[in-house]
Symmetry: C2
Subunit: 298 residues, 2 copies
């Protein structure tokens, strides 16, 4: 009952070849103390996102096997896709889920990063909570230049990898490994087709431009619905809850004569991200997660 | 992963003697495939409510042991308390939690009812979803007259027990057993001390008087807060969700110039009762419980 549990969401640079995808995902199937929750491939992005949960050591064994597959199957020199990427195993985020602190998850991510570097001669950057300094905490900064510019980037002192050779793996590029909070992909739809409005509201609510601390946001057109959306990554829902950003979007939308027509959560969401919204809107006093029956069944 | 799971919430007529309470609760502790989630005794009610969850057959073994203890320790002839009661083991509700239909829970409750009757010479009534006819579905109807009037009640054709002797157990009285939906105890506080307002609103929202189908409600004074509350049992949150009754109370309160100041959930609540409120207030489209990470960990 009190085993440590983490989530791991490795991103691989293969979203088209189903046979290759199957071989990369296979190591996560039917293993003790590991559960494959989801995997989604995107053809346009040419990218595979695996969501798996389990005890840390068991997760590591599966992950190393999957990485071995990915490195043997993916040649980044021939990789084309819309999503920015720098390696065959582009990024390996770890999320502490249960009986595990962020500090423990950081330690674990460093172990895994070192092992990936040693075993596969892969340059590894530590990012997010595992980053050695703030310049490396944001994955976008590490990935800037993508696979094609990495050979040049790695020669700079500021971009010496945390583990592994100071040279790009010829076919597998570079990998980022790190511990982070669970991330919730939360999109809010607006009753307009005007992308400028979605962009202005996204700017108002996101951290970068003066908004909520754990909110990344952009305006996106949703043509099939003839609407726009504020598309967000909530990077710490315990400090920036979903209801807060929704109510802020509602308030900002008013000045444009626009309203919120609905929302969606893409992929998985931790229970607490929703129960804290329920507690807010119901006005629940003294609510505790221990009151949720399922908490006792995990 | 796919074992059947039920909750059982037996109510015993002993809320004062800690040693007796310990002996009644003990059979639920440290057993395989059973988890004691909670037990609460109430001195005024002189009553003990145990909340336990587990696989049906394992639950039954613990329950039979606890019933044996209760029957040997409780003498209803000497029992006094504010809560209506008819037996030492007053009521044994079973709630299907996972991989189990209500029909299966009903079957199981009948097995348990028969075993309790045979083993302890206890008259047993089946209630709620297990009731043989509508006149027996409501526990309050079965319990009417309480322990003291049961000998007379059992002589009536309409109140022949479903199992066991047609005679009250001399010290343990009568027991009700049945399967039901999970029940959420939900209280809404109002910004007034006027109990008449809470009573009027309770009447407006409860099923009995024309309100929401799966809502039982009464007005209660909460003297320590100088407020009143609408105190509710939501008997099927999937059909009558918490947000709906809250919004209805808010609307009814307006005519009295009163507002909702907050709410509380007493005891345990199934995750889905809260996530469906989050989905309503956030306006989530296409939300599914399978998106909640914890769903995959149970």
């Amino acid at each position: 009952m009190d085993a440590k549990l983490m989530e791991c969401v490795p991103n691989f640079s293969e979203g088209r070849d189903l046979e290759k995808i199957d071989r990369i995902v296979a190591p996560f199937r039917g293993k003790p103390k590991v559960k494959l929750l989801d995997y989604q491939r995107d053809e346009d992005h040419n990218r595979l996102v695996v969501t798996v949960i389990g005890e840390p050591d068991a997760l590591k064994i599966c992950l190393l096997d999957a990485v071995a597959q990915a490195i043997s199957l993916i040649d980044m020199r021939a990789h084309r896709g819309q999503h920015p990427r720098m390696g065959a195993v582009d990024v390996v985020p770890f999320v502490p889920i249960r009986n595990m602190s962020m500090a423990e998850a950081v330690d674990f991510s460093k172990q895994v990063g070192k092992e990936l570097a040693d075993r596969f001669s892969l340059p590894v950057f530590l990012y997010e909570a595992s980053a050695a300094n703030p310049a490396r905490s944001n994955l976008a900064d590490i990935r800037k230049g993508e696979f094609e510019k990495m050979p040049e980037k790695l020669t700079m002192d500021a971009w010496k990898p945390d583990f592994g050779p100071v040279a790009v793996h010829p076919t597998a590029g570079v990998t980022a490994v790190g511990a982070r909070n669970p991330l919730v992909a939360f999109n809010v739809f607006l009753t307009t087709q005007d992308i400028a409005i979605a962009r202005k509201i996204a700017k108002a609510v996101r951290h970068k431009d003066g908004g909520l601390r754990f909110c990344k946001a952009m305006g996106v057109a949703v043509e099939a619905r003839r609407q726009v959306q504020v598309s967000m990554n909530m990077t710490d829902f315990s400090q920036t809850p979903l209801y807060r950003v929704l109510e802020l979007i509602r308030a900002e939308a008013k000045r444009f004569g626009v309203t919120v027509s609905g929302s969606e959560i893409v992929g998985l969401v931790p229970m607490a991200a929703l129960t804290n919204c329920a507690a807010y809107y119901l006005g629940l006093e003294h609510f505790s997660l221990a009151q949720v029956m399922e908490t006792h069944l995990i």
